[in-house]
Amino acid sequence: MSENLKCAAKEIRKLTINCISSIGAGHIGGSMSIVDVLTALYCSEMNIDPQDPKKEGRDRLVVSKGHAGPAVYATLAYKGYFDKDELMTLNRYGTNLPSHCDMNKTIGVDMTTGSLGQGISCAVGMALASKIKQDNATIYCIIGDGESQEGQVWEAAMFASHKKLDNLILFLDKNNLQLDGYTKDVADCGNDALKWIANGFEVYSINGNDPYLCKETIKKAKVSNGKPHMIILNTVKGSGVKYFEDAKENSHSMPINEEIRVKSIAELDGE
């Protein structure tokens, strides 16, 4: 039952790299930084069934930073939602795996995202509906630290805490980078933890690149009542492969040729 999450995360990282390299370039940085939380969710904490992807009362995940699609697709393929070979169709004309998450194209994707700031509100709506239906689902949502500059994120935050949506667990992928550079240089968000606390959230701050820590923290958040939850994931953009990590903001979207692919996979295997 309890899967080795470190091994699973490693496999998902490899699939993510293969997926992006199949088209030569893509959003590797923000994909790699969330692999560990995706692993904790799909391999341990979420109430889901890959054989019955639309199961009533299932937990849902909104990846509000929709450009991390490749990591989501890799995770879903790893869990058997669809064949791993399909990962090689990323971004090809007619694919089911477009650069940004699309609930109408990809089996297992719960929300269409890609215009930053929008997904979080949709997660709040799902959490509200789950309360009405009393289906005991947990709604998860991952936002980016650059994405947090969108005003809509804070509209959603206010509303979620006003409605006491304790079935909502948010993750902030705090990799300190956005497209143009470091978030602190582009448009500093200040103290995230204090902002989320001030918005009425129960806030945790952890090493987001440790799948076991992600798992334990999710477990804690699930049993705590009365407030929505924010788990700040302190992560590294491109996490897991030195070449991507060292690229800093250039890892946001970068080319992955065959040589880099082979080296990255070897590096992950050599751990």
Partner: protein, 303 residues
């Protein structure tokens, strides 16, 4: 040459000459080519972060103080994401700014449906006083930008980021009117943006069959150069309109309206027909939405 290189070099020149010009980005200064301006003009470049609505409001505020703000982001975030801010703080408040939307229509390519705005032209057309310029090639952009930046009305500029084939010759001078890029008598192809090149390709194919079409590049989708268009249609009585966006609310409907009021003839439309975007290369998407030169040729023959 890439459009974004021209964008950066022209803005650089203009900012050097005119201290009122400010550039605003929303975390896309690197892909849009404006990042280089930040070092040279630290006081007049602003990265608003991923907060487009705020960026438009800030630009309107800068304008209220006599500055000349130029905002740059991908087309969906430059238009639909910030529509009310443009309608109220910019247009209604009469605080005209320059809005540059990059990678219009299918030129968004692999960014896919969420980033592929087909409705931006319709949205911006519907705002009173808004001008719309759809860049044909980098050379035209180079000549157009210095003129449009001093417009007394808000301007929406749509331009690809990367390279596209040249349509205009060296020494081309942009004016806020249509250009007849090829003269002809058998039909009028009225095109905008990247579709002008596709229209010229269609014209070449038709020439082999002794069909001699006129190709008009409208340049400004709003206001339309009605005279050039009407003069051509009165001569040919056959019209195909080509645009890289939804026909609904786009150039096609603008031309239809002009012709209904002045010279009613049947008009064929080449463009996106009430569909969403998707991932794919430019050439794949041109085929997917039936916008290839071959499709244009067939539309001419149907007329």
């Amino acid at each position: 040459m890439e459009f974004r290189k021209i964008l950066c070099s022209v803005l650089d020149k203009l900012m050097e000459q005119d201290e009122r010009i400010c550039v605003l980005d929303a975390d896309l200064s690197k892909p849009n080519g404006t990042a280089k301006l930040y070092e040279k003009y630290p006081k007049r470049t602003f990265n608003a972060g991923i907060a487009e609505a705020n960026m438009i409001g800030v630009a309107a505020g800068l304008k209220a103080y006599g500055m000349i703000p130029v905002v740059v982001t991908f087309t969906p975030f430059a238009t639909r994401r910030v529509y009310d801010q443009i309608a109220v703080s910019v247009a209604y408040a009469k605080l005209p700014i320059i809005i540059i939307g990059t990678d219009p229509g299918i030129t968004a390519e692999l960014n896919g449906g969420t980033h592929m705005s087909f409705e931006d032209v319709a949205l911006m057309r519907a705002i009173p006083t808004m001008k719309i310029y759809d860049a044909v090639d980098p050379r035209q952009l180079e000549s157009a930008l210095p003129k449009l930046i001093y417009s007394e009305q808000p301007v929406y500029i749509r331009m690809p980021r990367k390279e596209r084939p040249d349509v205009f010759d060296e020494g081309y001078i942009f004016e806020e009117k249509a250009d007849i890029v090829k003269e002809g008598t058998d039909a009028s192809i009225i095109a905008t943006g990247t579709m002008v090149y596709e229209a010229m390709e269609a014209a070449k194919q038709l020439e082999l069959e002794n069909i001699n079409v006129e190709v008009i590049s409208v340049n400004m989708i709003k206001p339309l150069d009605e005279k050039t268009i009407l003069d051509s249609v009165k001569k040919t009585n056959k019209v195909v309109v080509c645009e890289n966006n939804n026909l609904i609310g786009g150039l096609y409907e603008a031309i239809c309206r002009l012709l209904i009021e002045n010279h009613p003839v049947k008009v064929e439309g080449i463009g996106v027909k009430d569909q969403f975007g998707q991932v794919g290369k430019y050439s794949d998407l041109l085929k997917a939405y039936n916008m290839t030169p071959k499709d244009i040729v067939e539309a001419i023959k149907k007329q």
